[in-house]
Symmetry: C3
Subunit: 273 residues, 3 copies
């Protein structure tokens, strides 16, 4: 921690590494076992929980627009959960509380009031506009854009260059967000138009422009996106086996990765009794 | 301004804040009331006008390609207008003059010879390739790509992931830019092909691939984009009221925000007499 | 080289410039005539060959995912070829060997195990996911996304916002890459679906969603992309002359730039005898 200046209002835990060139603001809390790589800017009121890695040159607690009223930072706390990996050059605004096991790629931008659950992964260059809700175990790949008022439930997959929009008659003041229910999958370069509701286990094919709601377990594709089939009709081209709903065939990174989805649901039901 | 080295050829105004880690080149002018956040690189011949904010780790006056001839910076001035907000990690090349009240999101890239008017906003990750013209009160959202030879007039709105192209037969040397007339709107993830002319108040729907000119007040959509209706036929789904031309129904950030478009035009006509 | 600390395990050649704020890791080799601009982070085991320029705030030798096992950098060398231009804020992972005359735009990200030939150019914001092969004289414009297992041969052109995908049934573990043969051209905002094979001299029009293989010298366009014509049928709108295969009409940056493609092929055949 050569040359790192820690203001007296800030607290650094045990076994913390802070590499050269990092700047620590006022009222910062860095818990035990955190690693902060070179030249990060950690602004005021940031709380980094135990075991988290912060890549080189991240900016945490970035100024909200109210900074520009008088060029003074207001009190907008940022909390980052335990055991997270924030890759280099990510920018996260103040006024955010992010869950545990969070992961970002490089150069992710997260504006204020993005409610983010546990075990969320957000890929390189993705741009979370804030004022939105992202559940647990959500996976976004590179360069995803999430507009204001989006609601993304749990176990959703969003692939590169997908945009969730919000303005039905641009430019306007009346934003209407997209809702994506649990287990839905949105493939590469799709645009979801304002107010569209995508239901559980739906699959949006690559390059789709989605103007209408997509029902549970439906596959849509095209510009404009149209109904193709039910997800259960899609088969692995090599094995001929069913693939969807994907939760029965894929587990990496999911809470059911070891026992499978069915048993995991059973176990959880048992626990709840 | 701890540890900031100001070369004798550079001038710093009154009430200027320069945070730690910023590097100031030769022949730099920073006017009064400017705020430069942490670790910016302000290269030679940059002029930042009064009241402007420069976010953390911006690079202003980036090298043009002639730098690589002999690894020496040539004289390519950059001027940034008054009361601008340049958000963190934006890169702006030398050989640019940008108007007042300019705003960028994060990680915007602006190459040389991008003529940019007053009151322009360019969103996060947008990539302005230079050798183009952008008028006044132009709004670009995130991740917009503006190719060489594009001409964008005043009061234009461009939404996320829109690309203005320029090469009719790629790869070639004969670039033909796109022209976008005043008050036009281009929605998310649209591509405008080389040489296309979009006329006043036109509206390009999301996900459109635009291969032909779009007439005044026309709505086009699709791949390839086709005529749908006149903008006056679009109604707000909730109120049933007309929305377009948008200048009659929307004013935020526009010079007519207080009095409305009609009265503002009247006032201005009166002034000109 | 004011204030630059060079570990004893690292070697710096003659006539090297390293600007302020740069950090040099262990076992770094910087050959003669290299220029490293402000505030770069050059991690362990990076080798920069003669005459290369590294722009401000690049991160070279970024950590692979095995770093997070114990927060220790493993031995993953990065080699960057001679006379390269790495523009500012580019991030390149360890475990990469890149050829000579390499050029990047700004904020390019290159993950591990991207095999990159000579004379390759990768534009601003492009995201090379690694575990892929890129030949010689490949040109990628801004914001291109290359998925794992992609194979791109020589003299290929890829334009802005193109995505090469790899997962036929997302999310899954069975990735199948795209193959792009030599001289093929992929225009703006096209998506190439997993396993698709694009053959020599093929041309993919802007905004295409390519689901099937594209034969040699074929033009496809649309969503989904369909056969339009042979490339030889495309003419320059002004001159009426044939444009494709482009190698006969375009030479900038190519090894045949001076003598033309035909003579260059002849010369090379002669040399091989």
């Amino acid at each position: 921690m050569r040359n790192i200046i820690i203001p007296t209002s800030s607290k650094i835990g045990k076994n913390v590494v802070i590499k050269e060139g990092t700047i620590i603001g006022e009222n910062v809390t860095i818990e035990d076992d955190v690693y902060v790589d070179y030249a990060c800017i950690i602004k005021d009121n940031v709380h980094i929980k135990q075991g988290t890695f912060v890549g080189a040159r991240c900016i945490l607690g970035e100024f909200l627009v109210d900074f520009f009223d008088d060029m003074k930072n207001k009190n907008h706390p940022l909390i980052i959960g335990r055991n997270s990996i924030i890759r280099s050059e990510t920018i996260i605004y103040g006024e955010n509380e992010i869950g545990d096991n969070f992961q970002t790629g490089h150069r992710v931008t997260i504006r204020e009031k993005a409610k983010i659950g546990n075990n969320v992964r957000i890929g390189t260059l993705s741009d979370i506009q804030g004022h939105c809700e992202i559940g647990n175990y959500v996976n976004m790949h590179s360069n995803v854009h999430i507009g204001h008022k989006s609601v993304i439930k749990d176990y959703v997959w969003i692939f590169p260059y997908v945009v969730l929009t919000n303005d039905p008659t641009p430019p306007s003041e009346e934003l209407v967000g997209v809702t994506v229910e649990s287990y839905a999958v949105i493939a590469t370069m799709s645009v979801i138009l304002p107010g569209v509701h995508i239901y559980e286990d739906a699959l949006i094919g690559a390059g789709s422009i989605v103007k209408r709601d997509v029902a549970k377990e439906e596959v849509v594709v095209g510009n404009p996106a149209k109904f193709v089939c039910k997800v259960s009709e899609i088969k692995n081209k090599i094995t001929g086996e069913k693939v969807y709903p994907w939760r029965y065939t894929f587990g990496r990174g999911m809470p059911w990765s070891e026992e499978g989805y069915d048993r995991w649901v059973e176990s959880n039901m048992y626990l709840k009794e």
